[in-house]
Symmetry: C2
Subunit: 634 residues, 2 copies
């Protein structure tokens, strides 16, 4: 009997064998070019194509020709606002990375210019980030002490930034944005939270004016160090810090209540630096235990090409620092660029962003900058200040140039405690309790992934926390593949729909016919499971309250998008096993990829074309036909 | 407008929220207890339950009470047959592991007895295997030379077997059979083929009578060693070997042509040993360059508890050897037990088998045995010889006891070349060209996984080959999760079925309505992809030959069995993005797990219950209603 007897139109299409090149090409396209980046070249020719290509690879050529004064007015304002944020943040985060504060200022000059040329986001503001700064200090500090050999240490920081740049560019060119996808939102939430905690604790050093401190970053060691050095605590420093912190937190609170006053909180860190500097200068703070930043040279970024150090002794440390921070910086920068683009209904090309980040870090590492990316706080300020294009980054770079050429020495008197409070205040916002609670409520495994990153970073180290969390996320993905969900289908009354009977208890079953929907994929990792599970469905049905004999098992493959050779063997095995028990088996709606492989492996010949159906209903009708025949011949 | 207007019966069931304990319990059950092992205890009470438990955990209690003389007749014959195979294989594989040949005989005495008590397979014959023997030699040989310090080397081999036993037992008790599932059929095929090649090459040493040899196993080093020592080649040894090899291969050929003559090929190795021994004894083979095994002591296994060596210096090597061989031994043993059980329509409990293998290796390691499992060749012979229960293993153990007590010295004269030919002949059968070609034809990625194992083992080392292959298999599983297949659905004419229009080109589309079926799962690793892909579907439709404006996007989630928080965010993002473009979006048939999470995360509230449908048809009707309204109001 052929399925066609039931309805000649419900024919399965067995004639869709594609060639290997076709399927391979389609797989490559989906894996590496899911966004179809070359679509704009299709209709172009000659010079037009060259122009499109240039505009595609160097986005500034796309927006600069259409740039006008009206747009510039917006960008100028936004640029000045982020410059005022960039100065205190640059100095603070450089201290966090244990490098001279001036490097932090340098890092807001060259990289923003490069990003303005190659970057595709309109809102991203380039700058250094706290988490990566600390991670660099941790990784390179393990190898070389920043106190004992500051020159070598700085050389290695530049080298790490160079490696980051090369790595990011390579990822972008090879279109491996897929790697960044594996840093899940839960991981980032936990990682940021944990980092915020340990960075805040690090700031207790500056806050309390402690001079001897641990180079470890975990909670236990840092708290031990803080309380062991109680005799070094300076109340003057703590008091000043407390006042600054209250002020900064107040401006943040203000911004939350009245979003239009965002510029108050954006300017606040600068104000703290200025007030602190004036205070330290006039009150001779140093005498009262208030340490200051120290001398800052006038002048633009010196070249640092000859400072790159690829000595095999230090290479493991710089490689580790470069690759890990590179990945985190990409994840943060791209996620942030993307989320602001979505608000304006624009698109960000992740792979192009990677190349822009890569170029900017390569150029930065050659001109005395360390790792930069698109930090959340700065980008949010840029967006709120009304930036229209990447020109705001250019404005910031010019502002920073003026600072470096003229004003730098003024910042020498900035008290360290002011920097500490700026960092702490920024970090408070990164511990996202609400998101963690949301994860806990919606998805316990996501919560686990988040907590692994949070606790790992807080109590072990930043890289272990990250590895632990990503490992768990990968484990989850593998477990998904290892245990695809199956369910039993029943017919929704008065319809032709077949749905999970657990979900729709009113749906109707046909006695003797077991309709199962298999989850995807059918792979080596789950074929033992699938076999066991199908046998259990049969056992449950036969041992159930009705205890009906199962005579037909219909496997609905609608959800199965992929199968491998072990999976095909398993289907055949199940066929054989059920056959010896006198149970007939049919499969329903194998998808394109699956049917191709089933045909190529001669599964279809062994299984029989008449046992493969297009829809559940046809298969049931065919089964009922058999059931009736069986009863009538008895 | 509510979907219920269309058909009051097609209501989505929003009231299936299960508690966390219920979902967690269900997930644990599916992950760790897919075969529902405790089902037989449900209807039992008191002593009955205790009896069932005892029979469950110690299978011999199940079959021994029903055992009778008729069954024993079959098992006796099978037991004698496998004993005759166990003697030459035991000696040969022990040589391969660089340990005294008598250990190979010991290993066929204690472990089979333990397996007979705890094992659940009726056909499995216990013994040593070539691949694991070589792997042990490779791993432990890296640390300690078997020639320089044979006692320490042997101690470490026992320790590795002990570690294997503990590991296998632990896997079984923790129900981590899932780990074995990750050794795919393709990996095993390639690994076995590669191992067979390098083992054959190793045998050239015995075959050509070479005395100085390399301890490396890869093809290049071994061939170099063979051709460098050309002056050591002995033609007498090679001639004898050639004759034996021809004889052995002939008996294998005979078995293939006439399966009833399987006992000829089963007895052949024993015959080769006997003939070789007689020849060496009477012709004074040693004088003609034919090396012999050397003295074998009479007596049963001595205890080896006090020989276990957990010195931290050697622990990495023994741990590595123990864990890797343990996993391979499990994969081979369980796969083989399972495939023979399927032929007889019986079931094997993988986790129980692991415990049985674990117990047998722990007991073995304490009584001078090394690693044992269920080798393919021996099990096939056992099956063909008509064994009925694990009693055949007991018969083999008793046979081996007699050999050890009485006949052992007779085997001292066995020529090494005879052992080499026995191993080589066994290995030829393991290179499965046909399977590799089948993989190539059906699934190129499976072929790649297989070749990675084959070439990795042949040219690098056994463990690297295995890691490379398993790594590729895992990568494939992750890529599956990262790039779920999407397709556009069309309506099959004269039916209510919606199918992939690429697969069924005749299916009908509704202008302005884009029905997409998403692949599973929607996870952090693929949410960027899914967003890009949906936008591309819309672009393709709008830029297509008809260039119709898309007004409705319907996402069919029938195949989506799992979603995480990032996935939910992504769906909301897509909703927002399409909203700003004036495109309406609806989702169809979210499954139980998915709908639960969508409800918990307030997605349903934000998205609107009226945009979630049970079937594609309802959703299209609702869209058409809107489309008409739009046109009529224009």
């Amino acid at each position: 009997m052929d399925s066609n007897i039931i309805n000649p139109n419900h024919k399965l299409n067995f004639d869709t064998q594609r060639s290997f090149t076709a399927t391979f090409g389609s797989h490559c396209r989906e894996t590496l070019f899911p966004d179809d980046p070359f679509r704009q070249f299709k209709n172009e020719k000659g010079w037009g194509r060259l122009k499109t290509a240039l505009q595609y690879f160097v986005p500034i050529f796309e927006w600069l020709p259409r740039y006008n004064l009206k747009l510039f007015r917006f960008d100028l304002l936004a640029g000045i606002t982020i410059t005022s944020l960039a100065i205190p943040q640059g100095i603070s985060y450089a201290k966090l990375a244990n490098i001279p504060p001036i490097i932090g200022l340098y890092s807001s000059f060259v990289p923003p210019l490069i990003y303005a040329v190659f970057g595709s986001s309109k809102h991203l503001a380039v700058g250094t980030v706290a988490a990566c700064s600390l991670l660099i200090a941790e990784s390179i500090g393990d190898e070389v002490s920043a106190n004992d050999d500051p020159k070598l240490y700085l050389d290695l920081v530049f080298t790490a930034a160079f490696i980051t740049g090369i790595f990011q560019t390579a990822l972008g060119i090879l279109r491996l944005g897929i790697l960044v996808d594996f840093l899940s939102h839960s991981t980032i939430t936990g990682f940021m939270g944990g980092t915020a905690i340990i960075i805040c604790l690090q700031q207790l050093k500056g806050f309390l004016g402690i001079t001897h401190f641990t180079h470890k970053t975990d909670v236990v060691h840092v708290l031990q160090a803080v309380f062991k050095q109680r005799h070094e605590w300076r109340w003057e420093s703590a008091l000043l810090g407390f006042i600054f912190l209250v002020f900064l937190q107040f401006t943040r609170y203000l911004r939350k209540r009245k979003p239009k006053l965002f510029w108050v909180s954006a300017m606040a860190p600068m104000l703290v630096v200025l007030v602190g500097g004036l205070f330290a200068y006039f009150a001779h703070g140093e005498k009262h235990g208030i340490a200051i930043v120290g001398h800052l040279h006038r002048g633009l970024n010196p070249l640092s090409i000859n400072r790159l150090n690829f000595d095999s002794k230090y290479l493991p440390a710089t490689l580790k620092a470069g690759l890990v921070t590179g990945l985190i910086a990409l994840a943060e920068g791209i996620a942030i660029g993307r989320s602001f683009a979505i608000m304006k209904n624009e698109q960000i090309d992740g792979n192009k962003e990677m190349i822009a980040f890569g170029f900017m870090n390569i150029a930065g590492s050659l001109t005395s900058c360390y790792l930069t990316t698109g930090p959340f706080s700065k980008t949010a300020v840029n967006f709120n200040a009304g930036c229209r294009t990447a020109m705001s980054n250019v404005v910031m770079a010019i502002g920073m140039m003026l600072v470096l050429l003229v004003l730098a020495p003024l910042f020498s008197y900035t008290p360290l405690v002011a920097l500490s409070t700026i960092i702490m205040s920024a970090m408070f916002g990164l511990v996202d309790y609400e998101e963690a609670y949301h994860l806990f409520k919606v998805d316990k495994f996501d919560f686990l992934i988040c907590m692994a990153a949070f606790l790992g970073v807080s109590f072990i180290s930043m890289d272990y926390g990250l590895i632990l969390s990503v490992g768990l996320a990968l484990l989850r993905a593998l477990l998904y593949v290892a245990r695809p969900a199956t369910c039993r289908l029943g017919k929704i009354p008065d319809s032709t729909l077949f749905r999970d009977i657990q979900q729709y208890p009113a749906s109707q079953r046909v006695p003797g016919v077991l309709v199962l929907q298999l989850g995807s994929p059918i792979y080596f990792a789950n074929c033992n499971y699938i076999r066991e599970r199908i046998l259990r469905w049969i056992r449950d049905e036969e041992g159930g309250p009705d205890s009906t004999q199962v005579e037909h098992v219909l496997l609905d493959l609608t959800g199965v998008t992929s199968i491998d050779t072990t999976g095909i063997e398993t289907l055949l095995e199940i066929h054989r096993m059920l056959d010896t028990r006198g149970i007939k088996i049919a499969i329903i709606n194998p998808r394109l990829d699956v049917l191709e492989k089933l045909t190529r492996s001669h599964f279809v010949d062994k299984f029989g074309k008449e046992s493969i159906f297009l829809g559940v209903e046809d298969a049931i009708e065919s089964s009922l036909f058999f059931l009736k025949k069986d009863t009538s011949t008895e």
